[in-house]
Symmetry: C2
Subunit: 316 residues, 2 copies
DNA sequence: ATCCTTATGCTTGTGTTGAGCATAGATACG
DNA sequence: CGTATCTATGCTCAACACAAGCATAAGGAT
């Protein structure tokens, strides 16, 4: 008889599987007028979530159907994020497994009880588009408080480790800011007690940014991190764009996600050179400058290559 | 009252969560003497799996404890792969959610009932280390059979799409072979009926490679794909290495994972230049050539940067 | 007419990467 | 002992990718 389980096996050789609750959590995002937004419920306190139901053919299908019903818009892209087994609920007998998904759509349709909220109202420090080097929330509010946390470490080695971690996460000292470290930054602030959800938090030291119930802000940060990483090697940005758009709008969308300003000329070269888009022939002249050409996404690239992304040319 | 579920809510406002079975599946790999191996059970028919149990503090902890108990070796690295809701079992009332993990260790210890199997006994076409261009299993067995599958498509458009997909997955025509498309290749072969697990399979057309029970070979291919992708941007290879090693051994390990031969001088330059390793001062002269210097992994890089990988310099 | 704005094209310097040549230090064999 | 052979290691060079900036085009506002 096989002996291949993590736990014990019943006498008949069949595996005894504990029954747990299963729920789906969705991080649905869109970009509207240069603002990245996420679908929330309960006045922004929750991400949309709900039980996995038997009639869902697959989990992805369930999420698709549900979001399209709720928002009236097609989900262009769905990807599984992570599965959490909430330890807090494990001991109370009713263990729950949360399976989280990232979904992208290109239009925001409102429904009662749901609201699109700006990403950066939950993570204000992640938006560095308008910060000058050496200014902004990180320098003014976060760096000094993390400095205090570093100083509270036990012993030199512990303080050194804390200093290094803070520097890497927030691009302090001579280090560069890495947009995709969203989750690591959230976890660091959590451990340092600078987040309201943290058990170690003291109200007067908390960093700006709206809290969410349970671990939903943590799940949201996982979603942002994944999306920021993904746009660098897979053309998912286009799921957030309308059918036709200007390169300026495309860049504004990428900048909204990355939280960083990009070098315009290099961004254009990258996009056009990779043949990710083709001109529609029309132009767009609403901006009070030279009218921009309109483009559409060449969906064929999704078949032609498995790797093709919107890399990020650095600053400005 | 909030209205934020995928399904219905009870009268008290609490969410009714369906109870499902939860099981953990492990893809545990090591590299021994240049062969990448995976831990299997039941004569290679299964990956190790078992129920999620209440006493597991977290799922990762459960996997760690379990594998260390089974193999006697420390798991250096554990990462969640994917969560599957097996649709086949959904309708029979006993829905099961499978949460799969990738684990890496640097030593193979045997226990009764478990066996380390070569990756490439399950996916022979993924090992191209010794193939010359234009030869090997892909050219001889897979390309012609996929050609037939392409020809069976309905209409020109469908045949074109099939041709494109086959070319991208297997690097046919002028396209390059992408090591990390392991899952896509498995799925293509499955759909084309060239895999024994497939319902469309005909015994005489099946491609070489051992089958596994259920979807375990699919889960395994997910693990390989993740690992091949990960070594390019994160220094996980070192979890598979002993404490000290030569650059030649390191290269052999990476080649075993990638299934491709690498350019030796460039590989060395990449590793040393990134300061991933430091010399121990000892040398190793078992190979009948100039003795190689021994190195150890600089664990500090894991803290210093979040991004640091073993990129793959191309062929030979 | 002048200035401001946005869009778009082109150039230049730097760093990364693929590929190959050359040398060093050991063993095997006549 | 000399030579062939093997692996390890160091170095060079050309092609390419990328960051950064300059220059020009085409519209609106005053």
């Amino acid at each position: 008889m096989q002996n291949c389980t993590f736990g014990q096996i019943g006498h008949d050789g069949r595996v005894t599987v504990e029954r747990v609750g299963a729920e789906l959590v969705a991080v649905v995002t869109a970009v509207a007028a240069g603002r990245p937004v996420v679908l929330t419920a309960d006045e922004g306190r929750h991400l949309p979530f709900g039980p996995l139901r038997t009639e869902h053919h697959s989990m992805q299908a369930g999420l698709h159907a549900w979001v399209e019903h709720q928002t009236g818009h097609r989900l262009g892209y769905v990807e599984q994020l992570y599965t959490f087994a909430d330890p807090a609920r494990a001991t109370t007998g009713g263990r729950v497994v949360s399976i989280s998904y990232l979904g992208l759509t290109n239009a925001v349709g409102d429904r009662p009880g749901k609201a699109w909220r700006d990403w950066y109202s939950f993570f204000p420090w992640e938006d560095q588009r308008h910060d000058r080097p050496g200014e902004g929330l990180v320098r003014e509010a976060i760096e000094p408080r993390l400095g205090a946390w570093v100083g509270q470490g036990d012993g030199t080695a512990e303080r050194e480790a804390r200093r290094l971690r803070a520097d890497v996460c927030f691009g302090l000292g001579e280090r560069a800011w890495s947009p995709e470290l969203v989750l690591q930054r959230y976890e660091l602030l959590y451990e340092a007690g600078l987040i309201p959800e943290s058990p170690m938090a003291s109200a007067d030291l908390v960093v700006p940014g709206e809290a969410m119930a349970g671990d939903h802000r943590r799940i949201l940060s996982t979603g942002l991190a994944r999306l920021r990483a993904k746009i660098q090697y897979h053309p998912v940005v286009f799921e957030l764009m309308p059918e036709s758009f200007t390169l300026g709008q495309l860049q504004a969308t990428v900048e909204a996600l990355a939280g960083q300003a990009l070098h315009k000329q290099n961004f254009r070269r990258l996009v056009t050179q990779q043949e990710l888009v083709e001109p529609t022939g029309e132009t767009h002249g609403e901006t009070g400058g030279r009218p921009a050409r309109m483009y559409r996404f060449r969906r064929a690239v999704l078949d032609e290559r498995q790797v093709a992304g919107t890399k990020l040319p650095r600053t400005r």
